[in-house]
Symmetry: C2
Subunit: 484 residues, 2 copies
């Protein structure tokens, strides 16, 4: 390629990066505003000094684990009402002092939010509580404009809600899957994921507060998770039935690898403690590449063999792409260029080629590796999170390899995603489109969609775009940008 052509191509790429940086940054602000406006439970955690008759606010629920209560002064009656409180209960011209309330940091988040943010169910899903706490802390810690006390306060309130209520029968570590608004367990899953998001939340809370109780919670839960996965799963309550195959869902080593990175960040001791675990997780994920390297399968036998039937043929392209960027970060930490190339090929290009709908665009939710019809009713729907994961994966792949094909894939996915999932009217993204791209569910949050995939994607993309752009003017870094 001639020098002139290269400079022109580099200039174009620089403009693309600049334009996307602005779009994702603005979108991150809009998305976070949606969650901060609509998802905070105004009631649990706020109590009048003299007690309050409503369940969850009485003095018997005073915090034991959290730090000192802080006094808050509502700025106006409408502010009070925005917390769901009837001002008549709290004060009058004769007794204005009743407007003081004690902040009890035990609150949690609503995640069942309609298109405009209306709460349509007050159940609190533990995955989503943990994820939202993590997201708030991460933004507070990493993105200057989000270093705002209201994020930190809400994260602490959510974290303390988890500390107090997530475990079903403390001191046992098994957490519920979903809790009532005031924290009573409704359902328990026989998997590790509630506990994984609990761990992420606690570790990130420790990073922003410095409160070591959060960190000891995180580390203890991590030990429990490793025990369940690698030594003895019986504490999860799973039945071992004679006909059940010993299948490994890719999510299990993926989540543990994610936690290895979470706990090991700037922490030499924990990074060393979990180094072997990280390699084990990466090896397990890589076992899901099957069919002579031509397919990523969601479930394989623990020894890496392909499983029979629908279970064995099941594919989830968005999940493969998410595993892709988890593995790519692992390859970066290890300084392993072969692994980097393998991951880009098998966990990014391959799932995109097979999983992208050639007729209507977008990533299929599920596929069957033999091209048979999946049995999941939603297999052809387009969900938000595979697309946000694909955006992260391709931009990270491009950042690490400089391959402009990966930047083009990022743009292709991001254009589709911004066009189809964004809601310019009320903010946040729709989660569930039909195959043709029409909104199938108008909810913005639900049992599996909270404040996590969208802002994580936007914040990570903004950070990566920033880093790419700050490498200097394109003419300065031709080898990095667009050289091939």
């Amino acid at each position: 390629m001639s020098g002139v052509l290269r400079v022109r191509q580099d200039m174009e790429e620089w403009e693309i990066l600049q334009a996307w940086k602005e779009r994702v940054g603005q979108e991150l602000d809009r998305v976070m505003a949606f969650w901060m406006e609509h998802s905070h439970d105004p009631e649990h955690g706020w109590a009048a000094p003299f007690g309050h008759p409503q369940q969850g606010l009485c003095p018997s629920r005073a915090p034991t684990l959290s730090s000192q209560p802080t006094l808050r002064f509502p700025s106006s009656p409408s502010h009070l009402r925005s917390w769901g409180l009837d001002t008549g209960l709290w004060g009058s011209a004769q007794a204005p002092h009743l407007l003081f309330m004690v902040h009890v940091p035990d609150r949690g988040f609503f995640t069942c939010l309609g298109r405009d943010g209306q709460v349509y169910d007050d159940l609190k899903y533990v995955w989503l509580q943990g994820r939202q706490v993590w997201m708030y802390c991460r933004l507070y810690r990493k993105v200057k404009r989000f270093r705002r006390p209201e994020l930190l306060d809400s994260a602490k309130a959510g974290g303390d809600f988890l500390l107090r209520h997530a475990r079903v029968t403390p001191p046992e570590k098994k957490c519920a899957f979903v809790l009532t608004r005031d924290g009573r367990p409704v359902k328990v899953q026989r998997t590790i994921f509630s506990e994984c998001f609990y761990t992420m939340a606690m570790n990130e809370l420790w990073r922003v507060t410095g409160d070591v109780r959060y960190q000891s919670e995180a580390v203890e839960m991590m030990e429990q998770l490793v025990h369940w996965v690698r030594e003895d799963p019986s504490g999860l309550g799973q039945l071992r039935l004679p006909g059940a195959p010993s299948a490994e869902p890719m999510a299990v080593p993926m989540m543990l690898l994610c936690l290895v990175e979470q706990l090991g960040e700037a922490d030499a001791e924990l990074a060393a403690r979990y180094a072997e675990l990280g390699d084990w997780c990466a090896g397990r994920i890589l076992q899901h590449v099957q069919r002579d390297g031509q397919a990523v399968l969601e479930n394989v036998a623990e020894d890496g063999r392909e499983l029979a039937g629908c279970l064995g043929r099941h594919q989830n392209p968005g999940h493969a792409l998410e595993a892709g960027w988890f593995l790519l970060r692992h390859a970066i930490r290890k300084g392993d260029p072969d692994l980097r190339a393998h991951v880009i090929d098998k966990f990014m290009l391959l799932p995109f080629r097979s999983g992208w709908d050639p007729d209507h665009e977008g990533l299929f939710y599920f596929q069957d590796v033999d091209g048979l019809c999946p049995t999941q009713l939603e297999w052809a729907m387009k969900l938000w999170w595979p697309h946000s994961e694909a955006m992260i994966a391709f931009l990270m792949g491009y950042s690490e390899s400089g391959d402009p094909a990966l930047l083009r894939l990022f743009c292709q996915v991001a254009e589709y995603t911004f066009r189809q999932f964004r809601d310019p009217e009320y903010g946040e993204w729709f989660g569930y489109l039909n195959r043709e791209g029409k909104v199938a569910l108008t909810i913005k949050g639900g049992p599996f969609k909270g404040c996590f995939h969208v802002p994580r994607c936007l914040a990570m993309c903004e950070e990566m775009l920033d880093a790419l752009l700050s490498r200097g003017d394109p003419a300065d870094v031709p080898v990095r940008l667009g050289a091939e």
Copy 2:
């Protein structure tokens, strides 16, 4: 209405009934041919006299419960191959006697069938095993042209497969949800439905074979079911969590009511034994009529109050219609015209009005009674079974009331159903359409779709249409047909 007009209307109705009788009869034959050709496991249950190395055919799996083995002589090598056997294993010009095989009645059905009947998974779902046994026996017993030995043999083989394998830890009665091809348990549900379909299968097997062992299985399982539902559910393995509402899914009293009718048919002793239970079930189902009679809700508290949140607002129009015809038969048995009118109003007309898609026709799968967006991804899809249940409900409603509006609804649903779900090319019906009526899953059978709803609908409609037509020429029965 003048006499001439009435006769003309009656003539039109008579022609409609006649035309539908022919359509459903022909369709029933086509549908049953599909299942008989593709769903019989050719391997398990067929063994050579000298044993066979394949799992499941060795002498150690010889039957203990079933009646004498019968000798079969395959009519040709291709016949043998149609059972999935390699003739080379079994015989040669030198040893043709090896072509004899022993029929071991322990076989079960494949239900994971692709569009053309291809088996795409060999797992055996217990609900669907029981339902197919029941369907074969019911047709054998009630429809003259299905009184064929191959139906009876297959039903017995399926029943013996259930007898031997369905229970997870015999003599405990809890059944698996899904088994491997050779009968090892893969998953267990903490509900009563596997056991309900087991009971239906055993009772119907007894009716066609006279073998009392089947009936004692049915009656013992029924006692267990009543104990779980009305006395102590702990044997089901459900956790009782402090935040879980004591919700009653409508399916539970529906299934028990179905069993009360099944066991009590032409059996004065059992009909008397379960009379009170039948009334209890009907009362419990009627509690699901909420909102001042304006809605049927799928889940209510055990005391009949509406539940909070999505769970409480959940509606399933097809299920309400199915409950409608269960209750209508209960009203007929009781000779209760008020209940009959109530049921037609609340469980037929009401769910149709709210559940029928005004834009694209067809019944929604799920709805939220407040018109909010359901959280189930498949809520707007059109599934086969709500439509087959609606056909039964409206034709039964018409048969019992003579109201031509119900005949019109039957025709509306049946026209949509035959147009959208039938597969003229390969037989059986598609199960899953998108909201617009396009086939979303091409499978003909799967974990929840087997040989049950479609042939039950067609056989019941054929029987009802026959009965309506045999009431004589329309001019003879003007009060019944079209009088209002």
